[in-house]
C-alpha cells in the first residue's frame, strides 16, 4: 500500500537528515496523498521569505504519515488574508495556520531607529504590534478554528547603543523580550494559539549561525542553511503533537547507552556510571530518561544481555538514577531487536509507531529502521556527552498539554505488570475483575478536565471509533452547546489510579443521539470500562427523550480492534463504505443498560 518512493525518501531523511533529502521528500507530498496518506493543509501567513523552510516542514509532515498541501500567502499581506473571509487562507480550509513574522519587518523602528525613540514611544510601538496581532487572531478565530502557530522573536545581533544599551532604562534587547512576553500574554485570550520559540532556538544555534544576512538583504530570506533543519523540526514538533503522533514509550539499549562498558564482562563495579567522566555522561542521560518517565513516558528495555546482570545494575548500583521499578516492559535476550520491539509494543498494548528506540550501535539502529520504518530511532553518537541532547532535542515525546494523568501514566504501566501477576492466580477472569476492586467515575467533565479530554482525542489511536482529533477549544464548544455532550470516565482499582482514560462525545438531533467520538486508553481495556461508558451514553440519550442511538466506525491505520465494537454493544449495521461502518440501536423505554457488576460506578454531573 505504501509507495516505495515515499518510504525510501522517508528512510533517507531518517538516516541522513539533509536539506536535499528533505527537498526530495517534500516533492513527494502529492504521491503520498495518492498513496492514502492523511491530507494535511497548512496555510502560511508571513512577512518574510519563508519558502526555503517549506520543504523541511513538508518533508517532516510526510514522515509523520501526512500528505501536506501548503498554501503560502503573499509577502507581508497578513492583514489582507485574515480580514477577508473569502481569502485563500480560509478557502484552503487549513488544518494549521502558520503566522510567521520576522521582527525586522514587524518593526523597523525598534530594530534600526531605536535611538530616536523615547521610553513612551517604545511602549507605544510594542502596544501597536500587540494590538495588530490581536486583531489578526480575532479575525482568524471568527473565520476558522484551525490551530495557529506563531513565533517569537530572537534577540537582534546589533544594538544601536552598543555597550550602553544594556545599561539603559529601556534597552533594545529588553524591548524585544518585553514584546515577546506581551504577545504571549495577549495570545492566551485565544484558543489554540501556539508559539515556536525562535528566541531559544537562535540562542542555541547562535544568531550569526542562524541568520543569513546575505539572503536577508537579497531576498528577505533570513533563515540560514544551518537553521533550516532545526527550525523546520521545531515546527514539525507541533504538527506531531497536534496530530496525535506523540510517541509514548522510550525503549532503551543498556550497554554503552545507559552505562559505559559491557556489564556482562566488566561487572557491576567495572561499568562506567558515576560522578566522574565518562560515567557522568551516562548519569546525565539516565536523569533525562527519568525526567521523561516523570512526564509520563513509558520506559522499556531492549538489550542483548543476561537479564539478571542488567537488573543487578538497577537494583544495586549506587549511581544508577533509573531503578527496576521505572520499567514497564523489557526484552533482554539475544533475539533480534526488531522482533523484541514488536513484543514490547504488544505487551504494552500500544502501537509500534509510538515507540522510540535508542541505541549506540549503528548496526542495531539500521536494522530496526529497515525492519520497522514506523519506529523512531535515535542512534546515539560516539560522544557520550551528546546523549542527553540527542534524546531530548528530537521532540518525539513533546506534547501540548501536561496533565496529572501524564505524571502518573508511566507508573500505571508498571502497575499493569503487577496486575498480570494477579491474573495468573485468579480462578476465572470475572473473579480476577472482581478482585481488582474497580471503581469508575463517569459523567460530564468540568473545565479543569478539558486539557486531558482534548489530549485523549489527540493521542488515542487504537481504541478510538472515529479518531477525530479535537483541540481544547473544540471540546469547550461541545460542552457549551445544547446539542452535544461530552462524557468522561475515570477508572481506579486497588493497585493504582488510572485517571481519566475514557471520553465520548455525543451529538443530539431530532431525537437521535449520534456518537461522534468514543475512545478509551488502551491500558484500561478488557475490564468493562467501555461498556460502562456506553451505558452512560444510552442512559443520557434516554433521559433526553431520544429514540435512537447512532454509532460510526471510521477506519484508521490503528483502530481495527474497534471495528466490531458497536456489534458487541447490540447495534445493527446500517451502512458500509470504504471509510467505515454506520450502526444503529433503538432505545427502548423499559430497558436500561446496566453497568457491569464488577465495577462500582459513581456518576458525576449528570
Amino acid at each position: 500500500m505504501i509507495n516505495d518512493d515515499v518510504l525510501n525518501a522517508i528512510a533517507r531523511v531518517k538516516a541522513e537528515p539533509t536539506y536535499v533529502a528533505y527537498s526530495a521528500l517534500a516533492n513527494l507530498a502529492e504521491t503520498a496523498r495518492e498513496q492514502g496518506y492523511e491530507p494535511y493543509r497548512i496555510a502560511v501567513l508571513r512577512n518574510f521569505t519563508i519558502e526555503p523552510l517549506i520543504p523541511v516542514i513538508k518533508g517532516e509532515a510526510v514522515r509523520l504519515g501526512l500528505a501536506p498541501d501548503v498554501y503560502v500567502a503573499d509577502f507581508d499581506a497578513i492583514a489582507e488574508s485574515v480580514l477577508n473571509s473569502s481569502s485563500q487562507l480560509y478557502t484552503h480550509k487549513p488544518h494549521l495556520i502558520l503566522l510567521a513574522q520576522w521582527v525586522e519587518t514587524v518593526s523597523p523602528l525598534l530594530m534600526t531607529k531605536f535611538l530616536s525613540l523615547s521610553k513612551e514611544r517604545v511602549e507605544d510601538e510594542v502596544a501597536r504590534i500587540v494590538d495588530t496581532m490581536e486583531s489578526w487572531l480575532r479575525a482568524i478565530r471568527s473565520n476558522c478554528d484551525a490551530p495557529v502557530l506563531a513565533n517569537n522573536f530572537p534577540l537582534p545581533n546589533i544594538v544601536t547603543l552598543g555597550i550602553l544599551d544594556y545599561q539603559s532604562e529601556s534597552h533594545q534587547l529588553h524591548t524585544v523580550l518585553m514584546l515577546n512576553n506581551a504577545l504571549l500574554k495577549m495570545s492566551k485570550n485565544f484558543s489554540d494559539v501556539y508559539w515556536v520559540d525562535t528566541l531559544s532556538l537562535f540562542a542555541r544555534l547562535g544568531y550569526a549561525t542562524a541568520v543569513d544576512e546575505r539572503n536577508w538583504q537579497a531576498a528577505r530570506a533570513p533563515i540560514s542553511k544551518h537553521a533550516l533543519l532545526p527550525l523546520g523540526l521545531e515546527y514539525a514538533k507541533f504538527i506531531r503533537a497536534l496530530r496525535g503522533k506523540t510517541c509514548k514509550c522510550l525503549v532503551l539499549d543498556c550497554d554503552n547507552t545507559l552505562w559505559g562498558g559491557v556489564v556482562g564482562e566488566d561487572g557491576l563495579d567495572g561499568i562506567k556510571l558515576g560522578n566522574t567522566h565518562p560515567g557522568s555522561s551516562f548519569v546525565a542521560f539516565q536523569q533525562e530518561c527519568l525526567n521523561l518517565y516523570n512526564r509520563g513516558v513509558i520506559l522499556a528495555l531492549c538489550s542483548k544481555n543476561n537479564e539478571a546482570d542488567v537488573f543487578e545494575v538497577f537494583k544495586k548500583h549506587p549511581d544508577s538514577v533509573l531503578k527496576a521499578h521505572h520499567f514497564a516492559a523489557w526484552q533482554i535476550n539475544w533475539d533480534d531487536k526488531a522482533t523484541n520491539l514488536k513484543r514490547i509494543a504488544e505487551e504494552l498494548n500500544i502501537g509500534i509507531d509510538s515507540l522510540v528506540f535508542v541505541d549506540d550501535s549503528a548496526f542495531e539502529c539500521d536494522w530496526v529502521r529497515k525492519q520497522l520504518p514506523q519506529v523512531e530511532v535515535v542512534n546515539l553518537s560516539k560522544e557520550t556527552y551528546h546523549y542527553r541532547k540527542e534524546l531530548m532535542l528530537s521532540g518525539y515525546f513533546d506534547s501540548l498539554t501536561f496533565s496529572n494523568e501524564d505524571k502518573k501514566r508511566s507508573q500505571m504501566y508498571v502497575s499493569d505488570n503487577q496486575r498480570k501477576q494477579l491474573l495468573k492466580t485468579a480462578s476465572s477472569f470475572e473473579d480476577y475483575l472482581k478482585g481488582l476492586g474497580l471503581k469508575a467515575e463517569i459523567g460530564r467533565p468540568d473545565k479543569g478536565d478539558v486539557p486531558r479530554v482534548s489530549q485523549l482525542t489527540q493521542k488515542t489511536n487504537q481504541f478510538n471509533v472515529t479518531t477525530r482529533r479535537y483541540t481544547e477549544g473544540d471540546i469547550e464548544r461541545f460542552m457549551a452547546s445544547d446539542n452535544s455532550e461530552v462524557f468522561f470516565l475515570k477508572l481506579s482499582d486497588r493497585i493504582s489510579e488510572l485517571g481519566l482514560i475514557g471520553v465520548a462525545i455525543v451529538q443530539y438531533k431530532n431525537g437521535v443521539a449520534d456518537v461522534d467520538s468514543l475512545m478509551m486508553s488502551c491500558r484500561a481495556l478488557g475490564r468493562g470500562a467501555e461498556e460502562t461508558l456506553m451505558s452512560l451514553i444510552y442512559k443520557r440519550a434516554k433521559q433526553r427523550g431520544c429514540k435512537k442511538l447512532v454509532g460510526t466506525y471510521l477506519k484508521s491505520k490503528n483502530n481495527a480492534q474497534v471495528a466490531d465494537f458497536y456489534s458487541k454493544q447490540d447495534f445493527k449495521l446500517v451502512e458500509e463504505s470504504p471509510e467505515g461502518t454506520k450502526w444503529e440501536r433503538t432505545i427502548e423505554s423499559q430497558m436500561a443498560k446496566d453497568y457491569p457488576n464488577w465495577i462500582a460506578v459513581k456518576e458525576t454531573n449528570v
Binding site: 536535499v20 527537498s23 526530495a24 516533492n27 519558502e51 539572503n215 530570506a221
Partner: protein, 81 residues
C-alpha cells in the same frame, strides 16, 4: 573535495523534482519549470549545505545554469572527476 557530477545532478534533481539523468550542461533557469526566484534560494541553500561552501553575493545570483554552478563550486575548491 573530489566528487562526481552525479552528486551535483542529484541536488538539482531533488530541489527541482526532475530526473537526475535529465540534468546536463544545458540545464538552466530557462529550461527547468520549477526554477524561479524562490526555488533559486532553495538551490543556493541546498548547494551550500551539500558541498560545505558559502557563496558570495555575486556568486549566488550568477549561478543560473548548470555550467556556472559547476564553475563556482570549482572556485570553492570542489573538484569534479
Amino acid at each position: 573535495m573530489n566528487v562526481t557530477e552525479v552528486k551535483l545532478k542529484k541536488v538539482l534533481a531533488d530541489v527541482f523534482k526532475i530526473e537526475a539523468t535529465a540534468v546536463n550542461e544545458g540545464t538552466s533557469v530557462d529550461t527547468v519549470e520549477r526554477w524561479d526566484s524562490l526555488t533559486h534560494l532553495n538551490l543556493i541553500l541546498a548547494l551550500e549545505s551539500e558541498f560545505g561552501v558559502s557563496f558570495s553575493e555575486e556568486q549566488s545570483v550568477e549561478i543560473m545554469n548548470y555550467p556556472l554552478i559547476k564553475m563556482v563550486l570549482q572556485e570553492h575548491g570542489v573538484k569534479f572527476q
